[in-house]
């Protein structure tokens, strides 16, 4: 299946002071694929996400999204182009209700088209606001015109997505008071509300018990299938990635160790080595922090 390339990283380096966090990382993500990025803690997985979503600017290298160079764009512009992500250490608006969290994202839906992207050149985001979800300042201040219609639409969209992740009955609850696993699912709903072309999940299973992980696997593959959404997942639960992903990229010490697409016959020994590295890392952290859970909740 020769699908279009949605995302491409080309020789990306990232330096923090003297530390080389990413070393010449390149990979491609094809349209409609479910790609997993694995690697031990500190391998640079989240840094890759931060660079793609524009939070960090790479020290060198280029990021292309649908043939457009997005390296220099700011985070909100990249979001407008159609990349949505979740966060490893949850970043919900804790005091707002679950529904409001999703509506806040839904009001920023943008339309992008390939054709426009090609004509508009590289640096201008070829995205325009989705008018179905907009109204003007005047309409907002007087509560007239499209305000009522659009607010109803946002609410419906929000409820639809909450339903999809199984949170419809918690819609009015403050996000910060939801159980941990639900907060993770709410983050996914919020990212989906942006109507993205590429969804990036950052350790969606962190802090979940095996049953919840299983449930989550179903949710992710379901979303990937139903929305036909190109999806990128970071995990260090190796089994999860190997179970659901068609394309696996492995990072270690900031460099790409292997890529199931380019390395035709991946050496099983390599995978075993990574698994060992992951296990080793867990042991080391467990020794330091005394518990497995402490590590899962903490940021890398």
């Amino acid at each position: 299946m020769e699908n279009k390339i949605v995302l491409e990283l080309s020789s990306v380096d990232m330096r923090f002071g003297g530390v080389l966090a990413l070393d010449n990382v390149s990979f491609q993500v094809h349209e409609g694929s479910l790609t997993g990025i694995i690697g031990p803690n500190g391998a640079g997985k989240t840094t890759v996400y931060n660079i793609i979503s524009g939070v960090y600017k790479p020290s060198s290298g280029t990021v292309f999204f649908m043939d457009q160079d997005i390296t220099a764009l700011r985070p909100h512009q990249i979001t407008h182009l159609g990349i949505a992500r979740t966060f490893q250490n949850l970043r919900l608006f804790a005091r707002s209700s679950a529904l409001e969290n999703v509506m806040t994202a839904a009001q920023n839906r943008y339309r992008t088209s390939f054709l426009e992207a090609m004509f508009r050149g590289y640096l201008v985001p070829a995205a325009r606001p989705d008018d179905d979800y907009r109204y003007s300042f005047l309409e907002a201040s007087l509560h007239v015109g499209r305000w009522g219609r659009v607010e109803r639409r946002l609410r419906e969209k929000g409820m639809e997505l909450l339903e999809r992740v199984g949170l419809a009955d918690r819609a009015e609850q403050a996000a910060g008071t939801l159980p941990y696993g639900m907060q993770r699912r709410l983050e996914i709903a919020r990212a989906l509300a942006l109507g993205p072309k590429l969804l990036m999940l950052d350790e969606p299973a962190a802090g979940m018990n095996p049953e919840e992980v299983l449930e989550l696997n179903g949710l992710i593959t379901g979303i990937h299938r139903d929305f036909g959404l190109t999806t990128l997942v970071i995990e260090h639960h190796m089994n999860m990635i190997l179970n659901i992903c068609s394309h696996v990229i492995c990072l270690n010490f900031g460099a790409k160790l292997f890529d199931s697409e380019s390395d035709e016959d991946v050496d099983i020994m390599e995978i075993a080595k990574v698994r060992e590295a992951v296990q080793h890392n867990k042991d080391v952290l467990a020794a330091y922090l005394g518990s497995d859970d402490a590590k899962e909740g903490e940021a890398v």
Binding site: A84, R85, F93, Q107, A175
Partner: protein, 312 residues
């Protein structure tokens, strides 16, 4: 949507009461002052309470509004209504100039710049004798701020404020307040979000300043010093950050307290400072926390409260 009608109707009812309930001359003055203070406090509230940007210089925007309106009406014979709006617009312009460099950053940058702004505006007003008559003040302003005008302005601006908070803008501001990074990754240009809040905020304070000039008939740079700025922010904190009804309640309470204890002015500031500290230590969430007053009413589940969900 039904709730929006309800709120608007409530504000109109309250305003009709304020405008037509028979009062003596002294109480009428207090009503005017109440309306003016509420307008200014709402301005600070949308910035500090709903967008999370701390300010210590909003009296400067009041000063800009007051002087612009006064100079236009007295010197150039402009009608008070366009003059009042011009005051609001000048405040917006200055806010934009000060916001561009400071709102790109998160942190205390705007707070410190706002002190600088407040002092700079006061200095200009004091030293530009030929235009502002300096520190002695600017007398002879036509007393256009009647009870009717003050209440009408209060009603219109309050309705606009509550409507804006219950809209995409409200969600945008709260998002950038609660988590700047998450907001920008949900597609918000957060420096722009902060700027929107600042401009609205400056407009409200500019209008409040213009109304104050028309009520006092006399304005003076020292009326808009850092104490006034502190008071504006304190009122918002007292009412509860992130609660607009709390702001209105807080403003009304502080205005009345200040009015009734005018005689012991020496101890007033001491008590006021202590109050600030004590509130922060014992009830930092203020009167209403971050909830609106109707969030306290028992309501059917499914009725969406704008802004906040229930808290644990």
């Amino acid at each position: 949507m039904k709730k929006s009608l309800f709120i608007n109707a409530g504000i109109i009812a309250l305003s009709l009461g304020l405008a037509f309930y028979p009062l003596g001359g002294y109480q009428e003055g207090i009503v005017i002052l109440l309306c003016i203070n509420c307008v200014a406090a709402m301005g600070v509230s949308i910035l500090t309470g709903f967008t999370g940007i701390f300010t210590l210089g909003h009296a400067a925007y009041m000063a800009l509004g007051a002087y612009t309106t006064a100079i236009l009406t007295v010197r150039y014979g402009v009608h008070w209504l366009p003059a009042l709006l011009a005051g609001g617009l000048i405040a917006i312009l200055v806010a934009w100039l000060i916001g561009v460099p400071t709102l790109r950053l998160t942190g205390d940058y705007y707070a410190i710049a706002s002190i600088g702004l407040g002092e700079a505006i006061r200095l200009i007003l004091e030293n530009w004798q030929s235009f502002t008559r300096g520190a002695r003040g600017f007398p002879g302003i036509d007393p256009y701020t009647t009870r009717g005008l003050a209440v009408a302005m209060f009603a219109v601006l309050t309705i606009l404020m509550f409507n804006l908070l219950d809209s995409r803008l409200g969600r945008e501001l709260r998002a950038s307040r609660d988590d700047d990074v998450a907001a920008s990754l949900l597609g918000f240009n957060t420096p722009h979000s902060r700027m929107k809040a600042l401009l609205i905020s400056a407009f409200y304070c500019g209008i409040a300043g213009g109304l104050l000039g028309g009520y006092m008939s006399f304005i003076q740079p020292s009326m808009f010093d850092m104490m006034k700025s502190t008071e504006l922010t304190a009122v918002v904190v007292f009412g509860g950050l992130g609660s607009m009804t709390g702001t209105l309640l807080g403003s009304a309470a502080i205005t009345l307290i200040m009015e009734y204890f005018r005689d012991i002015s020496q101890y007033r500031m001491l008590i006021y400072g202590l109050l600030l500290v004590v509130i922060m230590v014992f009830r930092p969430e203020g009167l209403l926390g971050n909830r609106e007053i109707w969030d306290f009413l028992p309501h059917r589940s499914g009725t969406h409260s704008f802004g906040k969900g229930r808290r644990s």
